[in-house]
Amino acid sequence: MELQEFITNFANQFEETDSSVFTKDTIFKDLDEWSSLIALSIIAMVDEEYGVALKGDDIRSANTIEDLFEIVKSKK
């Protein structure tokens, strides 16, 4: 799996935040639009695109998008 593709998939779950904001180092929980409902969209996206079941603790322990990418990669 590719990091760049993961970032794009991640950014697609947001409606208002401009896609240029998202990089591997983005601390996603600091984004204004971040919410528990976006978190569910991320979990659904990871399930659909990568076949990985993320836990709440996985989302909680990740700070950057790359952190989450690594978690998904390790569970694949």
Partner: protein, 350 residues
């Protein structure tokens, strides 16, 4: 694998009861206007029915059952089996089913038991009562499933309070040659913490600390006698286990999903349920929802959806259904069954 094929039992009628008091998500002061609209858009919940302090789950089930028995014109003496599914019983003890047996005017020759399950409870309840009827010794039985989960939610917890509503149901079943229920039932207790009330049982008896409100996060404060819902974990569980459960059921029993008329899911939240529907490639018109007007009503969601969204169809047609319940336990199950022009009582409001 807990696959069960239970012959010679069928549903004769179904009924549900909700409190009159309706509460809209837009009125919840915990939310800003934007949060409230986002919440309704995502979860599907626009309003719920909320029980006043003097209405218990057993009251809702009693009124549903009383109406159904009158509509069916069943002789109450003939009912020899009562199963009550709830996680909000009248008392710690005795079980609530004997109280309902007496109140409904059923005879002493009636076995009665409680089952403590939530979201999966209706499917599990059907498996227990159909098994009991299947032998042919007991000819008529009542499955009552209901909860007043709103009473367990902290009003300061935006993850639970706006989501849950209260409802009770009654399903009348009878011994009938040819009827057949097919089940796939599963359990994963490693997830027992994700939907939980910590104190008030015998592991952690109620103590002074139990009443102290604790701030968990923004918009989430509750005490230890109130419901915890780890939304992300439940979501991951639901979108993986529910579709898998139905796939396993259809593969094991060689069912053609295209010939199933309705897929009646536990109404968890619409976002999750839509993911499940899409994973199974089910058309929208085969997957009814009642969550908009009633919220997540725990073990009552499946019969409530049947009564409020499918009444005419159930009364006038022979139909094939798959129902799937999933949640607290963690516990989940799916069932394939047929209904043939059953009695469906009008929704009771108290």
């Amino acid at each position: 694998m807990a696959f069960l094929s239970i012959p010679n039992a069928a549903i004769a009628g179904i009924s549900t009861c909700v409190p009159k008091q309706e509460e809209f998500c837009s009125e919840i002061t915990l939310f800003s206007e934007e949060e409230s609209s986002n919440f309704s858009k995502t979860t599907g919940v626009i309003s719920r029915r909320v029980a006043s302090p003097d209405i218990c789950s057993s009251d809702l089930c009693y009124h549903a059952a009383d109406k159904l028995l009158n509509n069916l014109q069943w002789d109450r003496e003939e009912i020899e089996c009562l199963v009550f599914v709830t996680q909000t019983p009248d008392y710690l003890l005795p079980a609530t089913s004997p109280i309902l047996q007496k109140r409904l005017g059923l005879s002493e020759n009636c076995l009665a038991l409680d089952i403590s399950l939530g979201c999966s409870g209706y499917v599990y309840g059907l498996s227990v009562i159909s098994s009991m009827l299947s032998h042919g010794n007991i000819k008529k039985g009542l499955l009552l499933a209901g909860d007043t989960i709103s009473k367990t939610c902290s009003k300061n917890d935006k993850t639970t309070y706006p989501l849950f509503g209260d409802a009770g149901s009654a399903t009348a079943l009878e011994f009938q040659g040819g009827g057949n229920f097919l089940f796939n039932l599963k359990t994963d207790g490693s997830g027992s913490n994700v939907i939980k009330i910590e104190d008030g049982g015998f592991r952690n008896p109620t103590n002074y600390e139990s009443f102290k409100e604790i701030k968990i996060d923004g918009g989430i404060s509750r005490n230890k006698l109130q419901l915890i819902l780890e939304g992300m974990d439940v979501f991951t569980f639901g979108i993986s286990k529910a579709p898998a459960s139905i796939k396993e059921l259809s593969e094991h029993f060689e069912l053609n999903l295209e010939s199933v008329d309705y897929f009646i899911f536990h109404q968890a939240n619409k976002f999750m349920n839509e993911k499940i529907r899409k994973k199974l490639n089910l058309p929208v018109e085969k997957v009814p929802y009642s969550i908009e007007r009633f919220g997540n009503t725990s073990c009552a969601t499946i019969p409530l959806t049947m009564v409020t969204e499918m009444k005419d169809k159930l009364e006038n047609n022979r139909l094939f259904h798959i129902a799937c319940g999933f949640g607290v336990g963690l516990s989940w199950g799916s069932v394939y069954f047929e209904t043939n022009k059953i009695v469906v009582s009008d929704l009771v409001e108290i």
